[in-house]
């Protein structure tokens, strides 16, 4: 692809629900969250008939900054900048792209570190346990605020894909295309188990203090949780290729417990970087939302019945070496939709990158998404 397009500049905005007169959000747990606010970013231009809007839904540790840079000198673009931008696979010259940080997050939207209006102090563990559906409800308020009647597509990977599925069922008339990537219709027992261990590591950290930390953050617990999760994002194969049994700084074993292997050094680096940008309480709340995610549950375990309200066209993508959300789980979604006689394209992309492939296999994935969006646009223009 030619890279002659001008640099895309994006900016964060905050949408306070109170701007529309109702600051509240009723949650699945039965509680009502007040003073709700969403951090979001937009790129591209909404067309006259408001038919070119695409919602990007982010994964566990993602945020609203999906593309572009915040200033000309900004060294770090948004997390999916290779996918989204002028002339890119999700082309901001054609589409109006919206992405918001999920509630429960720690990147500007209302979450456990926000101030509880009832107490004047941070929610921390008093924050209500949210669900993926709650995240989508909040995004729907933003959609109304932006004056968008229908998304051309909702596109997201991993936890973003869970939001795509919820969107397709909760607001079927407002979603024309749905692109769930490297995701599942329900979190497996194994994934719930990994989440549990990660949260245990956080909540065992002496600095965690039942969530009421300020200066001394539970960095070591959060780092451990991240390192563990990171292993599940890679594949045995990609780890063998990238690190194998390579030693970090020496030709010989150190016969100690410091970072001896390259993979240990890599994990430690990932853990350390993560605690600089992510909050431990948010990590707990967002993984819990994923644990509770089970599309089929609303129909007594019948996924096809649960997905029956969805009318969108679907593009479902999985990756061959993804063992966190394996291809079989994407096929379950595709088969349930086919049972409902929906338009479904399904593709497994060959990749050794494991779950991370949804962020790394940009060309293979992007080509498919571009084709799908082209078709959706043409269908809409008919």
């Amino acid at each position: 692809m030619e890279k002659t397009e001008p640099q895309l500049l994006t900016e964060s905005r905050d949408y306070a629900f109170s701007q529309d007169g109702d600051d509240s959000l009723l949650l699945d747990c039965g509680q009502t969250l007040h003073d709700v606010s969403l951090r979001y970013e937009c790129a591209g231009t909404l067309n006259a008939d408001r038919s070119n809007a695409i919602l990007i839904t982010h994964a566990l540790s993602g945020d609203a900054h999906c593309c572009g840079r915040h200033s000309a000198g900004d060294p770090k673009p948004g997390w999916w900048d290779e996918m989204i931008g002028p002339g890119k696979y999700i082309d901001t010259n054609c589409y109006f792209v919206v992405c918001s940080n999920v509630i429960g997050g720690c990147s500007g939207s209302t979450g456990p570190r926000s101030i509880n209006p009832a107490t004047g102090r941070r929610y921390n563990m008093d924050f209500p346990v949210i669900t993926i559906a709650d995240m989508v409800r909040a995004q729907h308020r933003l959609m109304e605020f932006l004056g968008i009647d229908c998304w051309l597509a909702v596109v997201g990977g991993s936890m973003g894909g869970m939001q795509v599925l919820e969107w397709s069922v909760m607001y079927p008339n407002e979603v024309r295309g749905a692109v769930p990537i490297a995701t599942t219709a329900q979190l497996s027992s194994q994934s719930i188990a990994f989440d549990w261990v990660g949260r245990e590591a956080i909540q065992y950290d002496v600095n965690w203090q039942n969530g009421d930390y300020e200066d001394k953050i539970p960095d070591r617990g959060l780092s451990t949780a991240r390192m563990l999760a990171h292993i599940t994002y890679l594949s045995d194969e990609s780890m063998a290729q990238k690190f194998g049994r390579n030693l970090q700084d020496s030709e010989e074993y150190g016969f100690n417990f410091s970072r001896d292997f390259a993979v240990e050094s890599y994990l430690e680096h990932q853990g350390r970087r993560f605690v600089e940008r992510f909050d431990a309480n948010s990590y707990c709340f967002i993984t819990r939302a994923m644990d509770y995610f089970d599309m089929a549950d609303r129909a007594g375990g019948d996924l096809a019945a649960a997905l029956a309200p969805a009318t969108a066209d679907f593009l479902i993508v999985s990756f061959s070496s993804d063992w966190l959300f394996p291809t079989s789980q994407s096929k379950d979604i595709a088969n349930a939709l086919l049972k409902n006689q929906r338009n479904v394209s399904f593709c497994e992309i060959e990749s050794s990158y494991g779950h991370d492939a949804f962020l790394l296999e940009v060309d293979a994935l992007g080509t498919m998404i571009r084709g799908f969006l082209d078709n959706q646009s043409k269908e809409g223009a008919k």
Copy 2:
């Protein structure tokens, strides 16, 4: 199998190297360990020509108590009691079975919680970093002490299988049969990564105190490490079958962070039970020994060349759903041995139990081991 055999009673014994005049063990790291002692157990009777001795090598959290009960009322038999005993697959009416707790362990053999003769205090993290080969060297001293010239077979699963491989190469003339089960010739990058995260959890525990804990043990860190490891011992499939998304005490989500799912409750139970019987420092040293395990390393990465000294007959067994030490890794061992024109039987047992299958698929595995031992005995009698 008929269960008319009398109950097998076994007892723990200690072999202090000093009984043979040399209390020391030279280790791979270059250090010498003094005042070394091994806890071991025997079952069955050594025959007149001392040709019926079988060494059982245990896995990470195992110990010398592989079969029988310590007293008539003992509620808990040895860890492989279904496999080993009078009339069982490894029949103590025919064979003399020996099993010793590895050095570095916490069940009676010299390990990090032993007293360092140089200081009069526990070694803790001053204990030398040991290797699988060091464990085998110590077992060889026990073999000499017991007056055994050659093992009819060395049999072990997981880390026990690593010891089997070392035995076959380090003491080829003293091993007639080798049975490495659910194991690997080298720890993979992914496994090293899991071990790293487990040790991080232990060493981050405030009670760990750089290994110098006494009354307040790092139970939460060790529990987290165990829970994580436990996930790798199961399979996605077995977890789905055993727990699925079942809730523990309720029909509905608790919308909190307590044990909500059955799998969370199970893991917590496993973690809690483990800290009652295992030591955190031992966990660090033994996992490090596994990290360093790489049979091919001694021959520049050529596994066949590394295994060339081995003259034993091999029975290699893997389990279809074991993703910790997958079948491909057992096949690598088999292929390397076949390249050396050794007698190799290889079998993958179909099982959904994951790595744990080596302890659970007793009948399928036992039938194979019994046949192999029968053949080895006949070969020896020729």
